[in-house]
C-alpha cells in the first residue's frame, strides 16, 4: 500500500511536468498546426542558460525568471525566423524544420556545455515528507512543481478566456483568415503563441532539471511522454494536455514501479497507440465535424 501511494504521488509530480510540456505543444499546435519536436531541445537550452546564470552568481529565482524570459525570446525568434517560412507550406516541411532545430540545439549544447550531465539546484528540499515514521516519495519541491504548474495553467486559462488578447489568440488559431478580416494581426498572434509555449517549456525545464539532471539529451524522454499526454488530451485542448499529463505520469509511475523502469517508454507508446486506436481525437478535443 505504501508503495502504491508513493508511486501515485510520484506520478502526480512527474505528470504535472508532462502536462505543462504537453500544454506548450498544444499551444503551438493550436496556433500554427505544427508539432514542435524541438520543444524538448528548446527547454534544455533555456535550462542551460539558467544554469549558466546560477554559475555566474545569480540567485536561484532570478535564474528561473531568466529561463522563462529566454524561452519567450527564443520562441518568438524561432517563429519569426524559421517557422514563418514553412507555416503555409506542406506540413512535412514544418516537421523537418522542427526536427532539424532539435538536432541543431542538442549539438550546440553539447559543444558549449559538453555532453556530461550536470546538476541543477532545486527550489526546495528534495527530501520526502515524513508521515509518522515513513518518508513518502513526495518532497517540498514536488509540492512546488505541482503548485507552479497549477498556477501557470490557471493564468493561461484566464488569459485565454478573460482577456481580449486571449480572444484574439484563439481567433487567430481557429480561423486565421476570418480573424484577419476582423483586424487581428494573425502573424503577431502566432509569434506570441510560440513565445508563450517556449516560455512555459522553459519553466518546465527548470522545474524538472533537479531530478533529471541537465544534459543535451536528458529531456528527450520528457518530450515523448508529453507528446503522448497531448495526444491523449486531444492535441488542441489545453485542459486535455494537463489531464493527459497526469494520466501519463501515473501510468508511467505504476509501470516503472511495479514492472521496472526500462518499460516506461514502452508504456508511453502504448498509451499513444491505445489513444489513437480507441479515440483518435483524444479525450478533450474540441474538433467536431464542422458545419459551415
Amino acid at each position: 500500500m505504501t508503495q502504491f501511494i508513493n508511486l501515485t504521488l510520484n506520478g502526480i509530480s512527474n505528470g504535472a511536468i508532462y502536462g505543462i510540456v504537453a500544454l506548450a505543444l498544444v499551444l503551438i499546435w493550436r496556433a500554427t498546426r505544427i508539432v514542435n519536436f524541438a520543444q524538448g531541445a528548446m527547454l534544455m537550452l533555456t535550462t542551460y542558460l539558467s544554469s549558466a546564470m546560477i554559475s555566474g552568481g545569480a540567485p536561484y529565482w532570478v535564474a528561473v525568471i531568466g529561463a522563462v524570459g529566454c524561452g519567450l525570446v527564443i520562441g518568438a525568434i524561432v517563429e519569426l525566423v524559421l517557422i514563418r517560412r514553412v507555416e503555409n507550406g506542406p506540413p512535412l516541411n514544418a516537421v523537418i524544420v522542427t526536427l532539424g532545430l532539435l538536432i541543431f540545439i542538442e549539438a550546440l549544447a553539447g559543444m558549449i556545455w559538453s555532453s556530461t550531465p550536470r546538476s541543477y539546484p532545486a527550489a526546495f528540499s528534495l527530501q520526502g515528507y515524513k508521515v509518522g515514521s515513513t518518508t513518502i516519495l513526495f518532497s517540498p519541491n514536488d509540492t512546488f512543481i505541482v503548485g507552479m504548474v497549477a498556477v501557470v495553467a490557471a493564468l493561461l486559462g484566464l488569459l485565454f478566456t478573460r482577456t481580449n488578447l486571449g480572444l484574439r489568440l484563439r481567433a487567430a488559431a481557429f480561423a486565421p483568415e476570418v480573424a484577419r478580416l476582423l483586424g487581428v494581426k494573425v502573424g503577431r498572434m502566432f509569434t506570441l503563441g510560440w513565445a508563450l509555449a517556449a516560455g512555459i517549456g522553459a519553466l518546465a525545464g527548470v522545474l524538472v532539471a533537479p531530478s533529471t539532471f541537465l544534459g543535451p539529451h536528458t529531456f528527450d524522454p520528457i518530450l515523448i511522454f508529453a507528446f503522448a499526454a497531448a495526444v491523449l488530451g486531444g492535441l488542441d485542448s489545453p485542459l486535455g494536455a494537463l489531464v493527459g499529463g497526469l494520466v501519463v505520469g501515473l501510468v508511467l509511475s505504476y509501470v516503472s514501479g511495479y514492472e521496472g523502469e526500462a518499460l516506461a517508454p514502452l508504456a508511453a507508446l502504448a498509451v499513444l497507440l491505445l489513444t489513437l486506436m480507441a479515440r483518435p481525437t483524444g479525450l478533450f478535443s474540441a474538433a467536431k465535424e464542422r458545419r459551415v
Binding site: A175, L181, V184, R291
Partner: protein
C-alpha cells in the same frame, strides 16, 4: 466613397478580374451578380486585401487600399463578411461578437445593440457558434460585422443555404441598415432576384469583366441580360 478603377487580378496564369471599374456611394446597395467563376468573390477578397491585385487602384474615403494590409483596411470601416459566413465555430456567440467590437478598439458598437437587433443571439450567447442554425449564423456574422462600425459592408452570398423566408428577412434587415446607418453595401449573390429586390444598382460580372451596370429596376426588366448571364 469607394472608387475602383482598372482592377485586375490574376491567380497564376488565370485572370480572375480584368479591368473592373466600380463606384459606390454612401448608403447605397450595389448587387454584384454573375455565374460561378465570374470573379465575384475575388472582387470582394481584393477589396478587403486578402488578394493582391495585379493592377488597378481602390480608393476608399481617401485611402489607397491596394497598399494596405487586411487588418488596416478593416479598421478603416470596410468590413468583409466572407462566403460561408465566417463565423468562428469554436468560439461562443458572445466571443464572436466581442471580436467584432474589438476591430475599432474601444469605439466599436455595444453588444447590447447587437442583441437588440438580433434577439435570438442573446438567448444563445454562451453557446458555441457551431451549434447555431444557418440563419442564426448569418445573423451572427452580420451582427459581428456591424459591431465593427462599417462604412462599407461586403456581403458574400449571404443567402446561401438559407430558407426563402429567412433570406427575405435577411435582405430586409440589410436594406434597413443601409438606409438607417448610411452603410454602403456591396452584395454578392447568385440569387439575383433577392439581391435585386433590395439593391439600388447592380453590376454583372462575366469571366472577370463588368458586362453590365444598371439600376436594379432596369436590370430586372432586361430579360435578355438576365437570361444570358444569370440563367433566368
Amino acid at each position: 466613397m469607394l472608387r475602383v478603377s482598372g482592377l485586375t487580378c490574376d491567380y497564376g496564369p488565370v485572370r480572375a478580374l480584368s479591368g473592373v471599374d466600380l463606384e459606390l456611394g454612401e448608403g447605397q446597395i450595389t448587387a454584384v451578380l454573375g455565374a460561378n467563376g465570374a470573379g465575384k468573390t475575388t472582387l470582394l477578397r481584393t477589396l478587403s486585401g486578402l488578394v493582391r491585385p495585379t493592377q488597378g487602384s481602390i480608393q476608399f474615403e481617401g485611402h489607397e487600399l491596394t497598399r494596405l494590409r487586411v487588418e488596416q483596411i478593416v479598421s478603416l470601416g470596410l468590413v468583409h463578411v466572407p462566403e460561408g459566413r465566417g463565423v468562428i465555430a469554436e468560439l461562443t456567440v458572445e466571443e464572436n461578437l466581442r471580436l467584432g467590437a474589438l476591430v475599432r478598439g474601444g469605439d466599436g458598437g455595444s453588444l447590447a445593440d447587437a442583441y437588440a437587433l438580433f434577439p435570438p443571439l442573446e438567448r444563445r450567447r454562451r453557446q458555441a457558434a457551431a451549434s447555431l442554425s444557418g440563419g442564426e449564423r448569418q445573423m451572427l456574422s452580420l451582427a459581428r460585422a456591424l459591431l465593427a462600425k462599417p462604412r462599407l459592408l461586403l456581403l458574400d452570398e449571404p443567402s446561401l443555404g438559407l430558407a426563402p423566408k429567412v433570406v427575405a428577412e435577411l435582405m430586409a434587415t440589410v436594406k434597413e441598415l443601409a438606409a438607417q446607418q448610411r452603410i454602403a453595401v456591396l452584395l454578392v449573390e447568385q440569387n439575383a432576384r433577392s439581391a435585386l429586390s433590395i439593391a439600388d444598382r447592380a453590376v454583372v460580372l462575366h469571366l472577370g469583366k463588368v458586362v453590365a451596370k444598371a439600376s436594379a429596376a432596369e436590370l430586372l426588366a432586361d430579360q435578355g441580360l438576365l437570361h444570358h448571364y444569370l440563367g433566368y
